[in-house]
């Protein structure tokens, strides 16, 4: 069997496992059983392992770092979300977070499955180690922000349940407020520097190859806005001491705003990043 076939096989296995874990996580919310969520975590960990194997084959197979295709790009997003989630999971034991994260991973994988293999996402003139670093770090940074926001949304739900003075099954299933706040904190703390370095790598590359014009690119403005809000939130947390509800609310709202504006930009505006 060739490497390409092995790569496809591990990708498909990962896709099926991720689907299974998503179903597991969502049903654990429905039947309110933590055990099911625990099992789903292991299934997701297996999906992650297969995805890692896929990237191993990709690397053996081609000079992927220099020239990834859209399929690889989307799988990489899924892989990054998965990695961050699993690390958080083993650190904080808040399994129900998976019910929010695993559908996202599944979406990335389904999108990846729909893409044609071998279609390069970058024009020839953009292929360099610097853009690879830019790609990798910005994905990780954004993923951490996504998870921070998911934890924020869960915080808002749990907060509402506790304020309503009822200890329902849902409230028992969701992690404690403190754990959710901690996840938000950790993700912002790690995500901001990673995204910063990713953006700087992009800026250096753009300055070298395009010289002018790139600053007004809508997608760059969009990323820059995300980075600013990110920085603002981290500042409020570390310097002003914001905690709990307000942090959760603002990360939740900005997350939704950013998604909406991203989709808007993608549909309406021409951009240098037209591959994403």
């Amino acid at each position: 069997m060739s490497f390409v076939n092995l790569e496809m096989l591990s990708f498909n296995t990962a896709l099926v496992l991720c689907g299974a874990s998503t179903i597991g996580y969502l049903s654990s919310l429905l039947v309110k059983k933590v055990k099911l969520a625990k099992m789903s975590t292991w299934v997701l960990a297996a999906a992650f392992a297969f995805l890692t194997v896929k990237f191993f084959f990709v690397m053996v197979n081609s000079s992927w770092f220099v020239n990834p295709d859209s399929k690889d790009f989307l799988s990489l997003c899924a892989w990054a979300v998965c990695a961050v989630y699993l690390v958080l999971q083993f650190k904080t034991k808040t399994r129900v977070l998976g019910a929010f994260i695993s559908p996202l991973i599944l979406l990335f994988l389904i999108a990846a499955a729909g893409e044609e293999a071998g279609k390069s996402i970058r024009p020839q003139n953009l292929q360099s180690g610097l853009t690879a670093a830019h790609l990798f770090l910005t994905i990780f940074g954004e993923v951490l922000f996504v998870i921070a926001s998911c934890a924020g949304l869960m915080f808002i739900m749990q907060n509402r349940l506790l304020k309503s003075k009822k200890l329902s099954g849902m409230s028992r299933l969701l992690p404690s407020l403190n754990d959710l706040d901690r996840i938000n904190h950790l993700c912002l703390l790690w995500g901001f520097p990673i995204l910063s370095v990713g953006i700087i790598a992009g800026v250096i590359f753009a300055e070298m190859s395009w010289k002018t014009g790139w600053l007004t690119d809508p997608k760059i403005i969009w990323t820059f806005a995300a980075w600013m809000i990110y920085g603002f939130l981290l500042h409020q947390r570390l310097a002003i001491g914001w905690k709990g509800y307000r942090m959760a609310l603002i990360s939740g709202i900005t997350f939704i705003l950013l998604i909406v504006s991203y989709v808007g930009v993608k549909i309406c505006c021409p951009t240098l990043h037209n591959f994403i």
Binding site: Q158, L162, K163, K165, K166, L167, S171, R172, P175, S176, L177, N178, D179, D181, R182, G241, W242, K243, G244, Y245, R246
Partner: protein, 390 residues
Amino acid sequence: MLPALRSIGGVEEVLYLSTCNRVEILASVAEDGNALKELSGFLARNGGLNQAEAANSFYEYRGEDAVRHIFRVASSLDSMVMGEAQILGQVKDAYREALAEYATGVVINRLMHCSFRAAKRVRSETGIAVNPVSVSHAAVELAKKIFGTLTGKIILLIGAGEMAELTGTQLIEKGAQSIIVANRSLAQAELLAEKFHGEAVALDALEKKLIEADIVISSTGAPDFIVTADMLKKIHHRRKNRLLFLIDIAVPRDIDPDASELENVYLYNIDNLQDIVDENINARRKEAIKAEKIIDEELERFINWQKELESVPTIVSLRNKADDIVKAEIEKASGWMNDLKKEDQEKIEILINSIVNKVLHSPVSVMKEESSEFNSRDIVAAVRRLFRLD
């Protein structure tokens, strides 16, 4: 207690169980004697009850009902607080004591192991013990939903009431770091603080202590609010927006209900907690239906075993008797058998054993069949008589 119970005529095996709201004697007795009467007489004498009182407070279960009862007791279905965990420990202790005194035998040993299994299944397969059914436990559960872990948390008790003390004790047991007691009378505050190795302050230091605290339990008899929303708003910043869990057990209320509207502040009063408890009690009642099904299954297993037990001793003695006869006859025949070849001797022994087995096969299987229907008594008696087993 146990030696006295065992000395009663007709009592074969016995176990004595005493908990906060029940005293029970579990005994396996000979059928024809009046051991049961004597046992209840013993209980009455021991508890200083007259005949009328004894008649009012005693209950008696026999056979299958008794088995079901002990299963329900061990599984905490018969407890005042359904699903509480202590009862199983108490039953286990009682059994350990009986074992140490050699007061139990085949039946009670088996019965107790079956009841432990039933209790374990009820606990793990139903949600009967999942949600708290006391106000203080509900408060602890809420604290965990807010803080995750209680390690390092500081508790502030306002007023030195009993309920506040109980809840404080449980929070400390779950890992809370320390307790501060604030009270109108400093002397009383000191008295309570000493119990927890905590700090005592007068009420005028309350605001300062609210800044340190993570969990506040208030139970004073004051007519007005002791903790107002404005007070909390003022210290919000100095608390660095930390989460704050307020429990108001006082009637009239000590804490301004408006505090509930504040960010990162979670206020529960005694009625809120009681509502949670009531809901959990209802949930336990629903789970109890599932638990009764488990009890039924385990009961059937035990009864089947007991049914077989009736014929087992007779089957064993019948086999032993047959083996003894074979051994004695071969011994007698050893004079002429020794002249035969070793091979032939072995063949003869195999032949004898197989004849004996064939002959015994029908009586043994009939006894087993009948015992599963629970009417092997006559057949067993007949076999004992026919083969002169007694």
